[in-house]
């Protein structure tokens, strides 16, 4: 871990000002990802601006019927919030499928968006990595890339975004409210994270000094028909190989609205709006889901050790949509109800 100055921000303005005027400054919320990366020397901010205790932890109703999630609310407080549980159960399930109770208690909503890839090469200074040190090369291409991207990768980076929460958010499509040197602005969730392209060092589209203030969820929460399905190497406390967030609105058996996003597959939470359009107007049947799933993976590209993810993603999409349509078993763990 490098040497840094610690500053406890007194307000959002102070935080933004301090971060803007110090080169190498970074915000710290819960710290669960940043401190990890600092210990690995992957990130070396010279000035830490603590925003954890800013009054940004409220979860409150919005006039348009939506729900505002404060950026400094913890993942746990968000997941267990009554309004989240009842109106956005997909988000509740996705958050609880991620990390561990301890981490969720410390990690903030803003921080969840900011968490960085788990790419093994990104984390290990002994190996070249374009995301960590632009221009050095991508070791994951042709390397051990079991946990890497099948969508939207570039020849410079095949890393994935590791969040579960963000997959549900991608489906629910909130706006991300940020405050920066030029004031506040809102970013559509789908525009927040980015694909690696030729700038894999950039995870998102935040401008220098910008601080996430809140996530504003729209009114529609898909609370009746949803599923968050997470497939991983052990039953808990592991990053997703594939995860699927699905939300459906049904009129009888006809799909009237649909949301579909995948995790563990791309540099950003991977919402597939074409697939959503394909679902709308169709009967909620396995045949429909299979057709849509085939469409979802039609653009997937394997990297060797992650080739299996293409087929796994296809199957997971079918299962998640099926679970969502059934509206009964919203199990993130397929064994949850199997052996009481």
């Amino acid at each position: 871990m490098n040497s840094f100055t610690f500053h406890r921000a007194t307000g959002v303005d102070d935080a933004v000002r301090e971060t803007t005027r110090h080169t190498g400054a970074a915000y710290i919320g819960g710290g669960t990802n940043l401190i990890d990366l600092m210990k690995e020397n992957v990130m070396r901010p010279s000035y830490l601006v603590s925003v954890a205790k800013l009054p940004l932890a409220a979860i409150e109703a919005l006039p348009d019927g939506g729900l505002r999630l404060g950026a400094m609310a913890t993942n746990a407080d968000t997941a267990w919030h009554e309004d989240v549980k009842s109106r956005y159960p997909l988000l509740n399930q996705a958050i609880l499928a991620g990390a561990s109770p301890q981490l969720r208690n410390a990690a903030t909503n803003g921080g969840n968006l900011m968490q960085r890839t788990r790419c093994l090469y990104f984390y290990d200074l002994a190996t070249p990595c374009n995301k960590r040190e632009p221009g050095t090369g991508c070791s994951a291409i042709g390397g051990f890339n079991r946990i890497h991207a099948i969508f939207g990768a570039s020849d410079q980076c095949i890393a994935t975004h590791p969040s579960d929460m963000c997959v549900a958010l991608a489906a629910l499509a909130p706006t991300v409210r940020v405050s920066g040197p030029d004031g506040e602005r809102s970013i559509a969730f789908d525009d927040f994270h980015r694909l690696p392209g030729d700038q894999p060092e950039k995870d998102n589209n935040l401008r220098p000094g910008e601080l996430i203030i809140s996530l504003d969820l729209p009114a529609k929460g898909f609370s009746k028909n949803f599923s968050y399905l997470k497939l991983r190497d052990r039953q808990s406390y592991a990053f997703a190989l594939i995860s699927v967030a699905a939300g459906l609105e049904l009129d009888g058996t006809t799909i009237t609205d649909a949301r579909l996003a995948l995790g563990g597959v791309a540099h950003k939470p991977w919402r597939d709006q074409e697939a959503e359009q394909l679902l709308i107007g169709q009967p909620a049947t396995v045949e429909t889901f299979a057709r849509v799933a085939a469409q979802v993976v039609s653009t997937a590209v394997g990297q060797g050790s992650n080739d299996f993810k293409i087929e796994l993603a296809r199957r997971a999409v079918v299962r998640a949509l099926k679970q969502a349509a059934e509206g009964s078993q919203q199990a993130t763990d397929v064994f949850q109800n199997s052996n009481p």
Binding site: I147, S236, L312, R315, V334
Partner: protein, 743 residues
């Protein structure tokens, strides 16, 4: 008063309150003033040499004390022999910071010393080192041709026995046969406690090292040899080990570096490795295993061949017993076993829980399942048809073997008779259900051990033997043995371990501690009992006046005549009236070789596993396990059960998730952390039943114990793999069986 017959009871751990309250202190938790902190810098390359170390850049930082590297560390003992610990394989042990040569990725190349841990870590991150890289080779697949039969370098290694019968012809002519290659991932021990050493410096060449180790004497002898210290000036202490599983059998570079720093800096030092560095010193090797089996028309084994190749390092020749067990678990007259190693640019492998047997039993027991399906015989029945009544490897009878009882009791508990043979035939809703079986055999070993017992006039007994407590329950079972032998309440007994000032005990490994240290503890306590009896007999009008030692028993705080329980004395009264402040006994015990050498001494087990598999998604859950074990006498039902439960967790991990992945481009283990090296979590584990079958054995040792730390792991992994085959019809021979292999 409840009885003092403690052996075999489910006594709660005597060190339990210390462990659950945070009072138990581990090697990094000794508080010393003026501590200097070390932080190791690890090599990013697998082979080459260091050309320059820019130490002056970090030495300029206030609070940085020193940067140790090959450029400035003092020379140590020249002879390899001085560096070879008790369980070193043949070859030339790795010597940290003694040469610019890089022999494996993550090799320690420097150690930064600073006034705080954080500063040492920071300085280490800044240290620039230049390397000249050379081509490395870490892929065993490409080195198959380099395999050779190793020598007998390592303690405990038994080369496979010569072939018996005509294994090739018998296989060719067998009624049914199978052949297949099996492989499982490289594993790292990953005890929860990081390797750490705190060294107290008492003056020129005098130290106490608080080290994470499974053998304080092994470490002490190593330090004395390597640094040329006076053996009276070196003390090694370890009261609690936060898990070992074999990783602490050999002195690791952490203790070497910490002691080196303390001697050089002439002050106390603490060095703790990082979790990533826990992947830098020894692992369970990745064996390529080839098995051929054939059966006679009656389903008995006609032929068995098992050949293994695994890696070693370029500097040591690591060996483990992988194939030997295959020659003795089943009756078979035509057997050929082969064993080879090939050197790679990695650190030397290191014994890891049930070394050899854990790997060998995977191949053999999956092969047996394949054989059962080839022959159309129930997998358990197949095993019964080749039940070995005698150890054919050694051509000796077993001292005891209740494996048949394991089969029957385990199968009954599991409900095996309800199994239908065809793969995919046991569905439950959306889930495919599979039942599998596997098992194994492990050595029952007794090693020379010493102990000392002393009792004071107030009736408090203290027993010392420099063994270890890594979770196996050493404190508890030794307390039970001592208390029962002298008929004292547990509360009156203190057992102390983990200190080279105590009588010497063997390394804590091989499942031999209960048998070895237990026998020594029992023996010195019996000697002490004899002395107490003599004191009792000196008393006027002693009711035990003419009794011989065999005529009395020590029970419930009394000595009484076996023939007439009314004739008794209270032990504490005897001690108080004797005028002696303290009575002592010490000595050592060794195995009764003339008796033992006539027999094959082994423990056995069988494991039944149920899995549920999601057919579409390939997710597997082990929902039920029954592990039946024949391991002689069980000293403590509670701690023994826990050891077996843990073994099952290990077996499940090995089957489904554990694997250290090496990127051959870098010759480097890449998933060197707990996020990506997956060990089972609580949610992975469901119902586990443990059965200890009754097995009396007065040959293995006076206590009749065989040890249970390793045998419980055998067969678990294969049983999971076999259950997955039964559920899905997919035979996976490349473990761990991750989701991608079942799509």
């Amino acid at each position: 008063m409840s009885t003092t017959n403690y052996i075999g009871q489910a006594t709660s751990r005597v060190d339990g309150p210390a462990k659950v309250s945070g009072a138990a202190t581990y090697s990094a938790e000794v508080h010393l003033p003026n501590l200097a902190y070390g932080y190791v810098v690890s090599s990013p390359i697998a082979r080459g040499k260091i050309t320059k170390i820019h130490a002056d850049e970090v030495l300029a930082l206030p609070g940085v004390i020193q940067v140790f590297s090959h450029e400035n560390v003092p020379s140590v003992a020249w002879l390899d022999k001085k560096h070879q610990d008790q369980v070193a394989p043949g070859g030339s042990p790795f010597r940290a910071l003694q040469s610019p040569e890089i022999q494996f990725s993550q090799q320690p190349v420097a150690m930064v010393m600073a006034e705080s841990f954080e500063l040492a870590r920071y300085a280490a991150s800044l240290l620039r080192i230049e390397y000249e890289q050379e081509a490395h080779e870490t892929n065993l697949e490409t080195q198959r041709a380099k395999g050779y039969e190793p020598g007998k370098g390592k303690t405990g290694y038994q080369p496979p026995p010569p072939p018996r019968g005509n294994p090739d012809k018998a296989w060719e002519q067998a009624a049914h046969r199978m052949e297949a290659e099996y492989v499982h991932g490289t594993q790292h021990h990953n005890p929860m406690e990081l390797f750490s050493t705190t060294v107290d410096w008492h003056g020129e060449g005098k130290i106490t090292a608080y080290d994470k180790t499974q053998g304080v004497f092994n470490v002490k002898n190593y330090l004395v040899g390597v640094f040329g210290l006076n053996k009276d000036d070196v003390r090694v202490v370890n009261h609690f080990v936060g898990g070992g599983f074999g990783s602490g059998l050999r002195p690791q570079y952490s203790v070497y570096l910490a002691v080196l720093a303390a001697l050089e800096l002439r002050r106390p030092v603490r060095l703790t490795l990082t979790r990533a560095q826990m992947f830098s010193f020894g692992h369970r090797p990745q064996p390529l295993q080839y098995v051929k089996l054939g059966t006679n028309p009656d389903g008995s084994l006609a032929a068995l061949q098992h050949h293994v190749l695994h890696e070693t390092s370029h500097f040591e020749e690591y060996t483990e017993n992988i194939v030997t067990w295959s020659g003795m678990l089943y009756q078979c007259d035509n057997v050929k076993l082969g064993y080879q190693v090939a050197p790679l640019d990695v650190f030397t492998p290191l014994d890891m829980r049930a070394p050899g047997a854990a790997s060998g039993s995977i191949a053999l027991e999956i092969a047996m399942d394949e054989m059962a399906y080839e022959a159309g015989i129930d997998p358990l029945e197949l095993r019964l048809r080749s039940y070995a009544e005698r150890d054919q490897n050694q051509d000796k009878p077993f001292s005891s073997k209740k494996l048949r009882d394991c089969y029957h009791q385990g199968a009954a508990k599991f409900g095996w008779e309800k199994r239908t043979m065809a793969p995919g035939s046991m569905r439950e809703g959306n889930m495919l259900v599979g039942w599998g079986v596997g098992g194994g055999v492990w050595d029952a070993t007794q090693k020379k051990s010493a102990a000392k017992a002393s009792i004071t006039a107030d009736g408090k007994l203290t027993v010392l033997s420099g063994s270890g407590e890594n979770g196996a329950g050493t404190y508890t079972i030794m307390t039970q043995i001592a208390a029962e032998t002298l008929g004292l309440p547990l509360e009156a007994v203190t057992y102390q371990l983990g200190d080279t000032d105590q009588p010497e005990a063997p390394l804590q490994g091989g499942s031999w501690t209960a048998a070895s240290v237990g026998t020594a503890v029992q023996s010195v306590c019996q000697d002490l009992a004899g002395k107490i009896l003599k004191l009792a007999q000196k008393q006027a009008d002693s009711p035990l006046q003419d009794a011989k030692f065999e005529d009395v028993e020590f029970l419930n705080g009394q000595i009484r005549l076996r023939a007439d329980h009314s004739q008794s004395v209270v032990i504490r009264d005897v001690l108080q009236s004797s005028g002696e402040a303290k009575i002592e006994a010490d000595g050592s015990t060794t195995p009764n070789m003339p008796k033992q050498s006539q027999y094959s001494l082994h423990s056995h087990n069988v494991v039944f596993v149920e899995v549920k598999v999601d057919e579409d998604l390939g997710t597997v859950h082990v929902t039920r396990v029954v592990n039946a074990i024949a391991a002689g006498r069980i000293l403590n039902q509670k701690t023994a059960r826990s050891q077996v439960l843990g073994s099952v967790v290990w077996g499940i991990g090995m089957a489904l998730m554990e694997e250290t992945v090496i990127d051959h481009k870098f010759g480097r283990y890449m998933n060197h952390n707990f996020a990506e090296y997956h060990v089972p979590v609580n949610a992975d584990i469901r119902d586990i039943d443990v059965i200890f079958v009754d097995e009396e054995d007065d040959i293995v040792n006076p206590l009749g114990v065989k040890g249970i730390g390793e045998v419980g792991m055998l067969g678990v992994t294969a049983a999971v793999a076999n259950a997955i085959y039964h559920a899905t019809g997919k035979r996976v021979r490349d473990l761990p069986i991750t989701i991608d292999k079942l799509l």
